[in-house]
């Protein structure tokens, strides 16, 4: 093919260079702060077997309800277990469950949201009615009821959170797709004869998924709180496995005399929540295309 004739004027490429994610993330303060907090928490959780001074379930009946000391940094509980060690092991469990519990609703909600938004019509009506039904119940009430029916345990927590959590992702994705599919680049892709799957996966999803990712960050916090709440109610992770929720519940009876038993796990939950929120805010800034 020949080059077009003379009248074409070649404009210079706009000078401003594209700054990718890799070049910008460290300039976003909230993202960095969130990353540091969550990174520290994850490192502590992963390294728990190495750094924990005691076995989290070892009961030293000679050292019941000790205050913080050089031997037991955060003291011991009513069964003589080292609180610092239990906190570290609880982080392993709680963080793992919270992160994993977000994955299933994320995937299911994204798929259903895409179908609903892209095809509209009966598919949309069907999915959205289902969403309405789930949304009609309060989040915690539904989760607690589900776990109560299914029985406690990690697997049932996943199932309960998935059944309840997917609706948010479906709603977000549907809304975003409804807007994005009117853009002319989507029409252009359709005009080029691309199939629906390619249009959704290649052209729509990369443009709409960011909202869902940002929401997922705050959703992890919600899930963590749900797990802790379930643990507090005795429906979560079963003893003797350490979990922040159970620790808060167990410490409650000694709140007047040994406040640290409930407070430290509570503070841990707050710190993780803060870190994830910061991370979510930072991601929202970073993932915007312009």
């Amino acid at each position: 093919m020949a080059t077009a004739a003379a009248p074409i004027v070649t404009e210079p490429l706009v000078v401003e260079r594209h700054r990718g994610f890799r070049e910008r993330w460290y300039r976003t303060p909230s993202f960095v702060a969130g990353l540091v907090i969550i990174g520290t928490m994850l490192t502590l959780a992963v390294l728990a077997p190495v750094i924990a001074p005691y076995d989290p379930n070892h009961q030293d009946l000679t050292q019941l309800l000790q205050g913080p000391s050089s031997q037991h940094w955060l003291g011991t509980d009513n069964l003589g277990r080292d609180v610092w060690s239990r906190m570290l092991y609880a982080a392993r469990v709680d963080l793992q469950v919270a992160f994993l519990a977000v994955c299933f609703p994320f995937i299911i909600g994204t798929v259903l949201g895409c179908i609903s938004g892209f095809y509209g019509g009966w598919a949309d009506t069907g999915v959205m009615r289902f969403v309405d039904v789930v949304v009609a119940f309060p989040f915690y009430v539904l989760i607690i009821a589900l776990v109560f029916v299914l029985g406690p345990g990690t697997r049932n927590i996943y199932i309960a959170i998935t059944l309840v959590g997917w609706v948010s992702y479906a709603r977000i994705l549907r809304g975003e797709i409804l807007v994005a599919k009117r853009q002319e680049y989507v029409l252009a892709a359709r005009g080029a004869g691309f199939g629906d799957a390619r249009i959704v996966m290649r052209h729509l999803l990369p443009n709409v998924i960011t909202q869902a990712i940002v929401f997922a960050m705050s959703d992890i916090v919600l899930d963590l709180l749900a797990i802790v709440t379930l643990g507090y109610l005795g429906l979560g992770i079963q003893p003797p496995t350490a979990d922040w929720g159970t620790m808060i519940a167990d410490g409650e009876q000694f709140l007047t005399t040994h406040w640290q038993l409930s407070t430290f796990p509570g503070v841990a939950v707050v710190i993780v929540g803060l870190g994830l929120s910061l991370l979510g805010d930072g991601l929202a800034d970073l993932l915007r295309p312009e």
């Binding site: 009248p7 004027v9 404009e11």
Partner: protein, 336 residues
């Protein structure tokens, strides 16, 4: 020569962003007599809308006036501050925007929006203001005004909405109307109606108009004088007919040659090569030189300032004679 109604002197507007300071308007001056109509043209980003907004102190957030005066009836609006501005805003000076849908309040009946000015600025009673609104709607050619008064903006067509905007602009009996691309969003037939309405209002009410647009043909029909802006500066001013017949600035010539015209048909359009410069940079040469076909070495020696030439015109070009000669060898507009 009578006292000018509006005089802008060395106006500069800067926008401070994280990547640097943008000199959106850089030493712009012009004057307008009572009842006159002046056009302000240029490409997007040349500072024409900024200049217009600066007159009323309506700059978007990080933008601010850093130097210059805006004299309205001899009073400096920049020095007068917010209080002085509020007096003239919607009073002696009103403004018409490009997008009437976003410039009108969507949850307020258009009749009430037109009556708001007389009530608020002139302190009229409710019924007097309502009668005035009705009269204004008739004046701007809204059919069936009694019924349309009760309509919300979304119930009206684009042309009618722009008429409502004009009625609002007229409601406080202004001496000057600032028009920011008022017909760009409209269809040709509606644009034609609105332009003719504005001309009639100017003739009947003697109101002065500053008309910002990128469409030179619209200027040719509405304005007597014209200021062409490029990269934040005025590069040429004068009477429209003279400037179109014999442009002295290569940018004016380039703009005129790049639009397909109705009366003069050419085989191919002449585009202006390249793009306008980044206004965050500092300039040590003529800003148009990189895109200019008449540029010589001396154009790069320093910034070129506006200077007066004969016929009450000003131009910011060292080689304006060459440009004018090229223009008269191949006229852009039809011989009358």
């Amino acid at each position: 020569m009578s006292e000018p109604l509006l005089e802008v002197r060395d106006l500069s507007v800067e926008i401070t962003l994280s990547r640097g300071t943008i000199h959106a308007v850089d030493g712009v001056s012009f004057a307008l007599e009572p009842g006159a109509a002046m056009g302000l043209v240029g490409e997007s980003g040349c500072g024409k809308s900024m200049t217009l907004r600066a007159i009323l102190g309506l700059l978007p957030r990080p933008g601010r006036i850093t130097a210059g005066q805006v004299l309205f009836n001899g009073k400096d609006l920049v020095k007068g501050g917010q209080r002085g501005l509020r007096e003239v805003r919607g009073g002696s000076i009103s403004m018409i925007f490009q997008e009437p849908m976003t410039a009108l309040n969507p949850v307020m009946r258009v009749g009430d929006q037109i009556a708001e000015g007389p009530r608020y600025h002139l302190g009229w009673s409710r019924s007097a203001a309502r009668d005035r609104a009705l009269e204004l709607m008739r004046m701007v050619g809204i059919p069936d005004p009694r019924r349309r008064m009760r309509a919300y903006p979304h119930e009206l067509s684009g042309g009618l909405r722009q008429r409502v905007m004009i009625a609002i602009a007229l409601s406080s009996e202004p001496q000057l109307i600032l028009c920011d691309e008022p017909t760009t969003a409209l269809d040709v037939t509606i644009q034609d109606q609105i332009l003719k309405l504005l001309q009639a209002l100017r003739r009947d009410l003697g109101v002065a108009i500053v008309f910002v647009t990128h469409d030179l043909a619209v200027i040719a029909q509405t304005c007597e004088t014209l200021a062409v802006m490029y990269a934040g500066r005025v590069v040429e001013t004068g009477r429209v007919e003279q400037m179109f017949r014999e442009p002295h600035h290569p940018y004016t010539l380039g703009l005129l040659r790049s639009v397909p015209d109705f009366d003069v048909v050419r085989d191919s359009l002449e585009a202006i090569p390249g793009m306008p410069p980044d206004l965050a940079s500092t300039f040590t040469a003529c800003r148009f030189a990189p895109r200019c076909q008449f540029a010589q070495d001396d154009c790069l020696a320093g910034e070129v300032n506006l200077r007066e030439i004969d016929g009450g015109r000003s131009v910011a070009c060292l080689h304006d004679d060459a440009c004018a000669a090229a223009a008269s060898a191949d006229p852009v507009i039809a011989r009358v």
